[in-house]
Every structure is written in C-alpha cells, then in structure tokens.
Symmetry: C2
Subunit: 200 residues, 2 copies
DNA sequence: ATAATTTCTTGATTTGAATCAATGTATTCA
DNA sequence: TGAATACATTGATTCAAATCAAGAAATTAT
C-alpha cells in the first residue's frame, strides 16, 4: 500500500491537509540487517512501511527478546520511546530490504497543532497501539503454549514464511526448542496442517 | 483530587470548554463489591475516580486474573472494550466504597468533535494508556518474581495496604503461595523491610 | 469476646518448560 | 558445488513454580 492511500483510511482530509503532510515525509531505504533505530538513540520519527519487514526487540543479559514485528502497510516506531522521550532500549532492525517513508517528531507535532483532523489521527493511532499492546499482553500472559502458536499462525500466516522460527519463538515468549515441540504436537493433532508450508 | 483540577492538568481549556465538559459528567457512588461494569456489558463510559478503589479482572476457567487497579485521581474504564466496542470480558468491581464522575461515550465524542483541545486530551489519554500497558506487559513478561514484587511495592506502596495479598499475587501473575514465599525471601534479605507495614 | 470466615503461610509433591547436548537439515557464500 | 554457517529437531536432565494439603493468623460478623 502507498502512504497516501493509507493516510486516507484514517480521516477525510482536505487536499491541503494531505499535501502538507506528504511534504513532511521523506523516503528511506534499508538493507536487511540495518538498524532503523539503535539502542540508546532517541526515537524521534514515525515511519510508514511501503515494503519490508522489521523487528523491535530488546536485550536482556545477552538474549534478544522480540516484542513486535512491523511489516508493509503499517506505521512503525518505538512508540514507547517516542512517547516517553527516553533513549531507546528497544532497537528496531530490518529483517528484509525495506522502503519506508518517515516523518520527524517536530513536523508531526506541527500537523497535530495545525489541524484537528491530524490531531484525530494521533488519537486513533495511539488508541490502536493500545489495543494491539493489550491484546498481545493478554495472549502472552494467559494463553498456554499451544494456543499461543496456533493463534499466531492464524493471525500472522505470512510471518511464518518470512521469519526464522527462533524469532517467532522469542516473540511468543518461549524457547526455540519448546516452539519446535509445540509445532510437532499441533501437526500431529492436524491442527495446523495446511498453514506451515515452510516446514512441511 | 477533584475532577475539575484533574482536567486542567491535561490542557489549557477555555472557561466554556471546561463548563461544557463538566456538565456532561454525572456522579455515581458504589459500595465495596459493587460492579462498575459486568461481564458481557458494553463499556460506554469513562469515569474519574474521586475516591475509592477498583479492580479490572477477568475470568479464565473459574480463576480471576487481575489486570489493573484503578484508584482515586485516575480515569477508569475498560478501555479495550470501550475502544473495540465489544462486550466486556473484563468486569470492573469496587474494592472500596467509591465516588466517581462518569461521562458517556456520546458526550465524550461530542467534546472531541467540538473542540480541538478535547481531541488532544483524547490523544494524550490514549498515549498514556499505551505507555502503562507496555510497561506492565514488559514487567510481567521479563522480570523475575522477586523483581516483580519489589517493583510493585516501590511503585504502588498504598495498594499494598489496601488490597488483599492474593489479589496482588494475581496482578503480578503468580500464585498466592509464591507471592508469600517471594515476600519472605525479600524480607530476609531486608530489601523491603520498611514498606510492607501491613504484614510486619 | 467469640465464632465463623477469609486470608496467609509453610511443607511436600508434581509438572512442564528451560537448559544442556547432540544430531540433523537448510541456507548462504566462496 | 561444496564447505561453512545458521537453523531446527530430538532426547535427557534440571529446576522453579504450580499444585495439593494442612494449619496459622487475621479479619469480619454476631
């Protein structure tokens, strides 16, 4: 999806509102492995992903815990760091070559200030970030291992194909060994037969 | 804190904006044990807690898992249900006699529509709900048991006095037995000597 | 004040996922 | 294409928290 179409899904903008906004965004291209945001940097922009895939993770004594994936057609940022204006403890790294369009904090704030419609977009984005976050937290805290995997497969079938299994394990808060065993169990029970092509 | 003071902390409102808003809020009083929101009901209001204490929880096969406490000086709602407009799976119950001021969804939307300042409050509330949610999720997912308890004591000393220990256990995603043992460990290590008066 | 109930503690046992370790299978890159 | 590296599976063992089970302490009601 293109940025302009995406913006239009949030609100009815005047031509001027849309033009003003688009003029603030600038293109960036990242190669697989590049960091969109490094640990310790400040998160001062928000980016629309035109194509590609990223992971937001953090390190806890050497281990990398994946918190979130971002893929094409979504806004990406370390939103926690962005909102709290604290140095990021959650680097964001490209898992594929990617093309994104970014807007800096100051320009985004200017949009918010200049236009009620944009202020509304800010609210809607915050609200949906909240819903996503709660949803994920409830999953990880209260669902058992089998449910966690099968729900993930149902909700994010494309990621199964694009992301190494050990990263999915990390995202689902389990070890790679456990994920492998859970997967085996589910396949024996024929619960996920058709969805995991990659490994069949 | 009073509602009016609280609202002023969010933004510079004109007298009219403030009056319009206040006229929408209505007082409610709940007794300990009363439900602010029952399972299956729609969450269609937001309330400011002038005094009292509530828990938001949900049931998973008979067990009650506490997700959040709300206390005086805060806004309360099942925000997930409110935003998704789905029947609540997270009842909210008063843990103490409480006085609250509520505003219904339609009126809140009207404020948002009529005033950019109020739209901004909507954004700020969503943003801070997001920060809280992520913060809590990271705690529960990645901190060990001792850290979970000692952080809670540090951040919410008053709740330790007001809430039965088994509810805190639930909030921290552990069993009451485990919490009891963690507490004992921490006290032996003198890490929390002065903070848990209740049980000393 | 005493009984009843709720909440908390402590010990013994079970359990299921993490860890450790090895082997097998894919991808990547000269 | 073959070697090297990264990733996935499988088995054996360990371990920490859940569960089970009493009993003790605190709170509430009469």
């Amino acid at each position: 999806m293109k940025l302009q179409e995406y913006l239009k899904t949030f609100n009815k903008f005047s031509d001027k509102e849309l033009e003003d906004a688009l003029s603030f965004f600038y293109q960036e291209k990242l190669k697989k492995g590049d960091f969109y945001l490094k640990e310790g940097q400040y998160s001062n922009k928000v980016s629309f992903i035109e194509s590609g895939l990223f992971r937001l993770f953090y390190q806890v004594d050497g281990e990398e815990k994946i918190t979130l994936f971002f893929s094409e057609g979504e806004f990406m940022t370390d939103y926690f760091g962005y909102l709290t204006q604290s140095p990021s403890v959650r680097p964001i790294q490209a898992l594929e070559d990617s093309t994104i369009y970014s807007i800096d904090r100051d320009n985004l704030n200017q949009l918010f200030n200049d236009s009620k419609n944009w202020e509304r977009v800010g609210r809607i984005l915050a609200e949906s970030a909240y819903v996503t976050s709660v949803h994920r937290a409830n999953r990880l805290l209260h669902d058992d291992y089998d449910t966690r995997l099968s729900t993930f497969i149902k909700e994010s079938p494309s990621l199964i194909q694009r992301v190494p299994q050990y990263m999915i394990a990390s995202y689902l808060n389990m070890t790679p060994e456990t994920l492998s065993r859970v997967k085996k169990r589910l396949m024996q029970d024929k619960l996920i037969k058709h969805t995991i092509h990659k490994s069949l």
